[in-house]
């Protein structure tokens, strides 16, 4: 099926049967919940794609985050979001957390997690780590299945 990204991964996983659909259903829920806006989840997805060096994933845009300005996307893709005045403190807090999460969840400093809780609440932090977990897992599996299906 050629290049696989988190956007068409579910087709590659379909032979697993019902659990593939459940995995897809859960993954979709992070784009439609009240704790963290889809535009912010999209920035985190793009940041994970950058850190995975997943080029096809970086080229995708989630339809739930249509309102995300291109300049913010570029700041993440070009890895200069930290110094960018375009991104809000909330956006930077999520991206900062995402980068520690990617490297190693054990490395997340208490103050970085506390900043997320301060901005988004405890529910927001849990939603964030769940979303990062499933988006990251989809990117990892997409990279593997791109090779397996080539």
């Amino acid at each position: 099926m050629g290049t696989v990204t988190s956007f068409n991964l579910d087709r590659a996983l379909a032979p697993a049967g019902a659990i593939a659909g459940m995995y897809a259903d859960l993954s979709a829920k992070f784009w439609d919940q009240p704790h963290i806006a889809a535009e912010l989840i999209e920035l985190c997805r793009l940041d994970l794609a950058v850190m995975h060096k997943a080029m096809a994933e970086q080229a995708e845009r989630h339809p739930a985050a249509k309102g995300l300005p291109q300049a913010k996307i570029d700041a993440v893709l070009n890895e200069n979001w930290r110094g960018s005045a375009l991104l809000s403190d909330s956006e930077k807090a999520l991206l900062d957390f995402t980068e520690y999460y990617f490297m190693d969840p054990q490395s997340i400093p208490d103050e970085v997690a506390a900043t997320v809780v301060g901005l988004f609440g405890e529910n927001g932090l849990v939603c964030l780590v769940e979303a990062l977990g499933f988006i990251d897992s989809r990117i990892r599996l997409a990279l593997i299945f791109s090779t397996l299906s080539a």
Binding site: I19, K29, P105, D110, A113, L125
Partner: protein, 171 residues
């Protein structure tokens, strides 16, 4: 590692360890997560003992103390012994595990350490060892285990060690 829990458990306890954990703070996703988590163990394609080996290899790498301490009873009933668990450590390729078990762990390591770096040799090995249904089942299960364990570590409050606990898959 965050030694203090970064969030509180839900105030209402249901008796289900997933819903009663911090994941219960996100009601929009907790039911779907609980359904997926229990369903991966009911696969007709991959036996519970092999899924447990994949889960424990992931837990060991992510260093999720909770996950490392758990043994699911259905995996034990399916033949998972502590000797086998010991063989999941680095060096498993030289252990007495079966070729299929070693291939499942190699797939797990590719996911964990270098998902872009699947070699032609590993690709051939996976295709020779597993059916499409088996490999995709391993993939969905591993993605679920990895997301869960990273979630647990990210939320802090992880003890330094725990004794081995045999439990049932939360229903």
């Amino acid at each position: 590692m965050g030694l203090v829990a970064r969030v509180s458990a839900p105030k209402t306890q249901t008796g289900n360890v997933i819903r009663d954990s911090a994941m219960g703070l996100v009601p929009e996703t907790v039911d779907a997560f609980a359904l997926l988590n229990k369903s991966v163990w009911k696969s007709e394609h991959v036996r519970p003992a092999m899924l447990e080996m994949v889960r424990l290899r992931n837990a060991r790498t992510v260093n999720c103390v909770f996950c490392k301490s758990v043994r699911y009873d259905i995996a034990k009933a399916d033949g998972l012994s502590e000797d086998k668990v010991d063989d999941i450590a680095d060096g498993y390729e030289d252990s007495k595990l079966s070729d299929m078990e070693k291939a499942a762990l190699a797939f797990t390591d590719a996911y964990l350490f270098d998902p872009k770096g699947v070699t032609p040799e590993l690709k051939a090995r996976l295709k020779a060892t597993f059916t499409e249904a088996q490999l995709t089942t391993l993939a969905v299960a591993l993605g679920t285990f990895n997301a869960s364990s990273r979630c647990a570590v990210s939320l802090g409050g992880m003890p330094e060690s725990l004794p081995i606990m045999e439990i049932s898959v939360p229903q």
